[in-house]
Symmetry: C2
Amino acid sequence: VSAALPQGVELVRVNGEETSAIAALDRGLHYGDGLFETIACVGGVPRLIGLHLKRLAGGCERLKLTADLAALEREVYELARPTARSILKVLVTRGPALARGYGTSGAEKATRITLRYAWSEDPALAREGVRVRMAKVCLGENPALAGLKHLNRLEQVLARAEWGDPEIAEALMLSSGGALISGTMSNVFLVHGGGLRTPRLDRCGVAGVMREAVLQAASAAGIAAEECVLNAEDLARAEEIFLTNALIGIRPVRELAGRTLPAGTLTPRLQELLAPLLAAPGGLAGMNG
Amino acid sequence: VSAALPQGVELVRVNGEETSAIAALDRGLHYGDGLFETIACVGGVPRLIGLHLKRLAGGCERLKLTADLAALEREVYELARPTARSILKVLVTRGPALARGYGTSGAEKATRITLRYAWSEDPALAREGVRVRMAKVCLGENPALAGLKHLNRLEQVLARAEWGDPEIAEALMLSSGGALISGTMSNVFLVHGGGLRTPRLDRCGVAGVMREAVLQAASAAGIAAEECVLNAEDLARAEEIFLTNALIGIRPVRELAGRTLPAGTLTPRLQELLAPLLAAPGGLAGMNG
């Protein structure tokens, strides 16, 4: 537990204290009973913090998990400050179990874990695009969990274990019902007829903050954008495809399962629209807290 | 982390050492990337240990998780020995993350966590039966995870949070496709026309060790038993219903969502058949290691 931190990890805190240990009885470990956020920090400030905190607060409400989000926000700003670029991962769990079994008493005290990682993303990929495959593992459908960035992530672990080729950046996942949902660690947008389409996330998937930022930016720029039920055929017909997440922003897909995709026009236009938001704090109203 | 253990917890070990802390970077916490077993210990011996170890080994294989199961078995016997009755919970995770993200390198070192709890089950319920409700939360379908006792258990946490009445012992859960699957912490059997039926677990659910023991005992006694796709109508038509898990053995359902069920004949007969297995080590060949 007290071993040196692995490469790339700069700092770990549990409930505000620098430590690399959490309670073995934590419900986050036993059940995945918690939520997380992965936040890009740029210029010493957490990017899209407003959207991250909004999603986390919504997740806490849905899981009936009481956490001190004001303390969390203060800590995020504090940890972001010292470095020009970093990645903050924040986990909030229901805390140590007070009894055996799934039941809760409501007296549980949430655990807050913050980890700061060195920046790892290659900005060149935003221009060059990435190669993507289709995952074999599907995503189970559960409206009660859909959209949440919770700690039950075995489906993503299994999907990511399907390939080792470092030239492949991501895999797209379908639901058990055959609907296109997302990448293992990103949301997906299709361009069709000059408009944007992205999967509805009311049965599974994570409602990404960058997905939200893209939808808001498209709306503000008068670009048609729709959340809808999509499938593998829609993917095959898409004129452009791009991925989003809090760290990578917008990343064009230049190859999907062997099919080459064009650089396109709407993807670079959206990248331009989002550039002010991604380069530094400020940008679109409300998103940066 | 070093706080006193909560009521009912006698002992916690991580990788064989008595401690109440695990690494904050453990993939069990971040992704639920691991498995668990809950083992009843009777007369100082872990009950159904053969079935527990077989399921755990199968789960490790499916998740490509390399763990020292021989060391785990030794520790389980050691922890079971001092007390007449106890509950052992064993978790095996993929260990501390070596890098950020879902990907694995294969160099991860599994974490083994063992917890011993005081015995908590009331034997009178095996005669009296229990009251059961229907859960509103469903179980997502994923063949890649079906049957495994993995650490992604938010669906069970949410289902258990639907009721507070201590007179209700369990809730039955349907899959997102409407099939009857299991309780939140138990498997379910229906009696119909003198035979047994229990849900197939190839799309979701946990393949319980007591479920397996019941199927084997029924087979040995010439009682028809079938694993099949069942739904709410099958439940409504069932003549007897009972729940199973490693701790409770066979527990009759005397009331389901307001409907009273008879004591029945096959349920007590199966309880008798399993009694030697549950009372003490020995019993059906192979199940106790």
